[in-house]
């Protein structure tokens, strides 16, 4: 009995230890996270001719595996909706987040097909270890052109750092959509905005992933 207790205690202790270890290992620093997913996306897009040709399924698979797990679309949508977010029912909030997410994914998918010889540069993060909100600065280098600034706002959640805003060439995504969201909502309500987004997504889905070519 005594021995059994001891074994049990040791097992619990080990269990707790390994749990603690895995929990701390799971929290990847925000700059390392951005670096890793950028790298993975760049490498996949460069080596996959299916993505370059605009193969919808391949792009979708890449985005779902490499991007979506690290983005907090709910918060992104909440920020873009601003004060109207609180007036929406949970069901409306969910639908709005879903449609907004689909629109962003579509736009992002189009950009993915453009990746050829771009390189990514990033600045070392200088934030205190206790920070729960950080900005990670990167830029995309393309031969013969000016670099494209690409910065990310991240927040620390229990299951790791999540992106909730992106800055392209000095403009924050959330801030850029805020005005449009506000005027759509004041014109035709939350449902009106959801409908506008859904219509837009349907139209985009019927066209090619990359209408540039």
């Amino acid at each position: 009995m005594n021995i059994l207790k001891k074994i049990l205690a040791v097992a619990i202790a080990f269990g707790a230890l390994s749990f603690a270890a895995s929990a701390s290992a799971a929290i990847e620093p925000p700059d390392a996270l951005i670096k890793r997913i950028s790298q993975e996306v760049l490498d996949s897009a460069k080596s996959d001719t299916g993505i370059q040709k605009g193969n919808r399924n391949r792009i979708r698979a890449l985005v779902e595996a490499k991007i979506i797990p690290y983005v907090d679309f709910q918060r992104m949508t909440a920020l873009a909706a601003g004060r109207y977010w609180r007036t929406a029912t949970p069901e409306q909030q969910q639908r709005l987040s879903k449609e907004f997410r689909d629109l962003l994914i579509h736009t992002y998918s189009g950009a993915l097909t453009e990746i050829r010889d771009q390189k990514l540069q990033m600045r070392p993060l200088r934030a205190t270890p206790s920070a729960t909100e950080v900005i990670v600065y990167t830029r995309v280098i393309q031969p013969g052109r000016e670099p494209i600034e690409l910065n990310y706002r991240l927040e620390k959640l229990e299951d790791g750092w999540k992106i909730y805003d992106v800055n392209v060439l000095g403009a924050w995504l959330v801030e850029t959509y805020k005005g449009t969201f506000a005027s759509e909502i004041s014109k035709s309500g939350i449902d009106g905005l959801i409908k506008t987004l859904a219509d837009k997504n349907r139209k985009l889905a019927s066209g090619p992933v990359n209408s540039r070519k």
Binding site: D72, W85, I135, E149, A171, E175, T176, T180, S183
Partner: protein, 298 residues
């Protein structure tokens, strides 16, 4: 005289009506002329659709890419002179001297500016205009203005525009037909450079006018205020300083080299302090609801 006062009254009436209708449609305090701006935006968009964009597409698809690069570099080099002056006017000595070096190197070693050897030599391209200089000096941007053919601007930048134009060496080129050809080529080259971006705006925006306006105003802000953005950790971060580390394909350890070396930086990357300060309260306000719903997968 009577006719004059009548016209005058009519004019006031129309102006008031325009203001009222402007207020009715405007949600953005930075855009009191939304009615006019939307009309002009629509006009510009139409011109782009039927003339500029098709021509730029042909330019991009037909001309060999080294010719396009040459054209872009040539006019870019001419533009660098004014960028240098503006950087110096803004007190940014290091950038200004770097721009002077760029023009010198590219003009003499780069076949009159056609080859951008300076970028490879570690002198990156900057872009500064007189509107940015006024902004740096503390002049507020004023209302958003859409200019005929030229597009997004602000009142301040519109006032600065004649200065920019008179400082463009190309407008003094004779004969006039060469000057006009050059102006046309430069416009095509610039439009061709943003073909992908304009398609993306088309796809991403619900209301293209608002999307372009809100992105433009933020970007303009960020170009002028290159000073820091506060991290939540409390440390001041200056995006214009610090080393850039190139991310290679092979995964390697993230180095934390903190040596400040701003000389090899393109000094345009900055986040808008206004956007930041505006976004923060919204984040806090939504944080509580965000937390409760965060466990829910999208």
């Amino acid at each position: 005289m009577i006719y004059f006062t009548r016209f005058f009254k009519l004019g006031i009436g129309l102006a008031v009506a325009a203001l009222i209708s402007g207020c009715a449609t405007s949600h953005n305090p930075a855009d009191p002329f939304e009615g006019y701006n939307r009309a002009m935006f629509k006009f510009n968009d139409k011109v782009d659709q039927v003339a500029l964009k098709p021509a730029a597409t042909v330019y991009k698809n037909v001309l060999p890419s080294f010719v396009q690069t040459g054209i872009g570099n040539f006019f870019g080099n001419l533009g660098d002179i004014w960028t240098a002056v503006n950087n110096l006017l803004q007190g940014k000595l290091e950038e200004g001297m770097s721009d002077v070096g760029r023009v010198t190197i590219n003009t003499f070693a780069g076949l009159g500016g056609v080859i951008d050897v300076a970028s490879d030599a570690g002198l990156p391209k900057h872009r500064e205009d007189f509107g940015q200089t006024l902004g740096k000096w503390g002049v507020k941007p004023g209302p958003y203005v859409v200019l005929p053919l030229l597009g997004s601007s602000t009142l301040r930048d519109t006032v600065a525009l004649p200065v920019d134009i008179s400082a463009d060496p190309w407008v003094y080129v004779y004969p006039v037909n060469i000057r006009n050809t050059g102006i046309g080529a430069r416009a095509l080259d610039q439009r061709a450079g943003v073909l992908d971006a304009s398609t993306m705006i088309e796809e991403a925006s619900l209301d293209k006018y608002e999307f372009v306006r809100d992105a433009y105003l933020q970007r303009r802000q960020s170009l002028i205020h290159e000073n820091g953005v506060k991290q939540s950790g409390g440390e001041e971060v200056n995006p214009a300083s610090g080393d850039w580390e190139t991310v290679e394909s092979a995964p390697d350890k993230l180095s934390s080299n903190n040596t400040v070396n701003s000389s090899n930086l393109v000094n345009r990357d900055s986040t808008s302090p206004e956007a930041t300060s505006d976004a923060v309260p919204a984040q806090q306000q939504s944080a509580s609801q965000g937390m409760s719903s965060k466990t829910k997968p999208d």
